[in-house]
Symmetry: C2
Subunit: 378 residues, 2 copies
């Protein structure tokens, strides 16, 4: 099956195939080509995709915690020769991608925290004080591979590839939001061994959660209170105030601007927000999508240059989107990029205060972070 | 000055002296001795103790974040010869502790996140949408050194020393709670280089926060709702339910019991709670204090034995106490001990889902954690 690109200016195409265990794989090509493509069949003798575990309610915090005991033995930093994200160059050594080449490819994680089919919750009943009944960890965990080149880095990919990556973010957000089990879609990227990335091949991830995640729940609660008090949209008004104050602004595009939040909690942190009110990536229009890839890449380049003397800075980036159901009107798309590296060779560890108490101490100031991110512009 | 031990069965004594920069240092001796002790004077040419920075309100989460830019260059894993927590054995190489020997010693951190004197907040005004005005990061950050032996470990210290450590926890909690700037006192320990411990000499810490920390605020909110709905105390009823259900109980003492919470989020996690309703460590009676040190040590020993084949497991332990002011009646003392080590050599990293979304995925089950912590009992 090949999908229509939806009338956008994206010149690419999407092809959907199936892996041997029934999971779908989506090839996003930078350029559409006539005729069938990506026809190689996955012939691996794969077991059924694993089912997800359960979610349990933490009565002390009011948050859902996911229990995924089966993930304990997942692939951990395989050698480059065994990379499951490489294309299958030798049929005797098949990977997760049957074809011998691709631009961007998306498929469900083989060791998912959330899956469309769950094992089912712990059958043992428990008293009410220990929380509501457990629920199956329904949802989706997708992998988005950014290049067939194991050694590539997202900051060096050509512009058209970034445009394709944005299209994959958009398509995944729209598709997974359509599953009634999904409460919110999180598009994110972990980069760097220092933060435990198990596969160095350039890739991102998508988690489609069966609950509104804790940080989103906090943000929605803050937004609800702000609207009740002022009638305004919190995230829109924060962006406007940051642009007016200028001290922490990092870059201004036509459709997006980036700033360091006034209460940044990481040694490197920057947010990127659209100028227009949009709930999620799928709501971006063609001009916004066209600009976004380049701005994202520029932000990551600056993060890499943040500390003098090193070439790559480990980072986490994540798209905060509106929930799919209740409170959707309170959500507003924004990206958060942050790093735990406080100096070359020195990580910020989340020790007692952060991990035990949720109380962050930042050893630098948001204004210094913003100054450095402006200084290292391309 | 020597303080009275308060009529408890603790046979020790406390001696308070001053360091060269005016900070107080408290020597807690396992055994009281007649006559003056710890009389050595600190002759170092020290600068004024650094002032604390500021706290900023994060409008997106409703949490205070501490900005402590001056901490960036703090001592990081000094060689054993330069350890500032050693006693001063050679007057030519003075440490933070002037005397040549001690049992337990307490003093304010030289690079504090919170201090009794603050630099003062950023003078620049900001619009209301970016939050209330910044506040000075008033408070206290104490270091509690458990032994004069740099190579010692808390799990191997003799019983009377643990009794003295409990007394130091109690004294610090009581004293710092008396500062009107302090909203909550957190007694904790970070152990292991894997979690970024900057000094390997066995020690714990005390943070006295000028705000109720986020995890405490969540817990108080949950406790308030629970009381409104049921009339009960959430933490007491959770303990009772865990003891009745038995599956996750780790140990039962006369005055305290330990269990793995139903929604444990770390690969190793255990809580220790008193049987009696007490707001904080200072409210423990003599019998409770006498039992506590041994139980704490036993829990840490079991954490160390959790993973076969290794001798030490990095951990964070923290005492959740009632706030000093508002909502004090909702708080109930409990200890949380957890480790990020999911297998020998494999840390649980807080990547996109945890750090970006606050959504924890545990790769094991709370019941398995509890089973293992029972199996490795002394």
């Amino acid at each position: 099956m090949q999908l229509d690109s939806g009338g956008s200016s994206w010149p690419g195409q999407v092809t959907v195939r199936q892996l041997a265990d029934g999971r779908e794989i989506r090839y996003f090509d930078d350029q559409a080509t006539p005729g069938p493509v990506h026809q190689t069949t996955d012939t691996r003798p794969l077991p059924e995709p694993p089912r997800a575990g359960e979610i349990r309610f933490d009565v002390l915090t009011g948050e859902w915690v996911t229990v995924a005991g089966h993930r304990m033995n997942r692939t951990f930093l395989p050698s480059a020769a065994d990379c499951p994200l490489d294309p299958t160059r030798d049929p005797a050594h098949p990977t997760e991608v049957p074809d011998s080449d691709y631009d961007v490819v998306v498929f469900a994680n083989r060791f998912p925290s959330y899956a469309p089919q769950a094992v089912g919750p712990d059958a043992a009943a428990h008293p009410d004080v220990l929380g509501p009944p457990d629920r199956p960890a329904l949802g989706h965990c997708d992998v988005i591979v950014f290049s067939s080149d194991h050694e590539a880095s997202i900051v060096d990919l050509p512009g058209p590839r970034l445009r394709t990556i944005v299209e994959a973010w958009v398509e995944r957000t729209a598709a997974l939001s359509g599953d009634p089990a999904v409460a919110e879609v999180f598009v994110f990227e972990n980069s760097g061994e220092e933060i435990g990335v198990t596969l160095s091949h350039p890739h991102g991830q998508v988690y489609a959660y069966p609950f509104v995640p804790p940080r989103s729940a906090q943000l929605l609660e803050r937004s609800r209170r702000y609207r009740a008090a002022t009638g305004g949209n919190l995230l829109r008004d924060v962006l406007a105030a940051e642009l007016a104050e200028e001290r922490r602004v990092v870059l201004r595009g036509r459709h997006f601007s980036a700033y360091v939040p006034r209460a940044a909690r990481w040694p490197v942190e920057v947010h990127l927000a659209p100028h227009r009110d949009v709930p999620d990536l799928a709501a971006l229009d063609d001009a916004e999508r066209a600009e976004l890839g380049g701005l994202y890449q520029e932000l990551l380049r600056r993060v890499n240059r943040f500390h003098p003397g090193i070439e790559r800075v480990p980072y986490i980036s994540g798209w905060h989107q509106a929930p799919t159901g209740e409170d959707r009107d309170l959500g507003r798309l924004h990206l958060q990029v942050f790093s735990l590296l406080r100096a070359p060779g020195k990580l910020k560890y989340l020790a007692g205060s952060e991990s035990g108490m949720g109380a962050w101490v930042n050893d630098t100031t948001p204004e210094r972070i913003a100054g450095r991110l402006r200084e290292v512009a391309s």
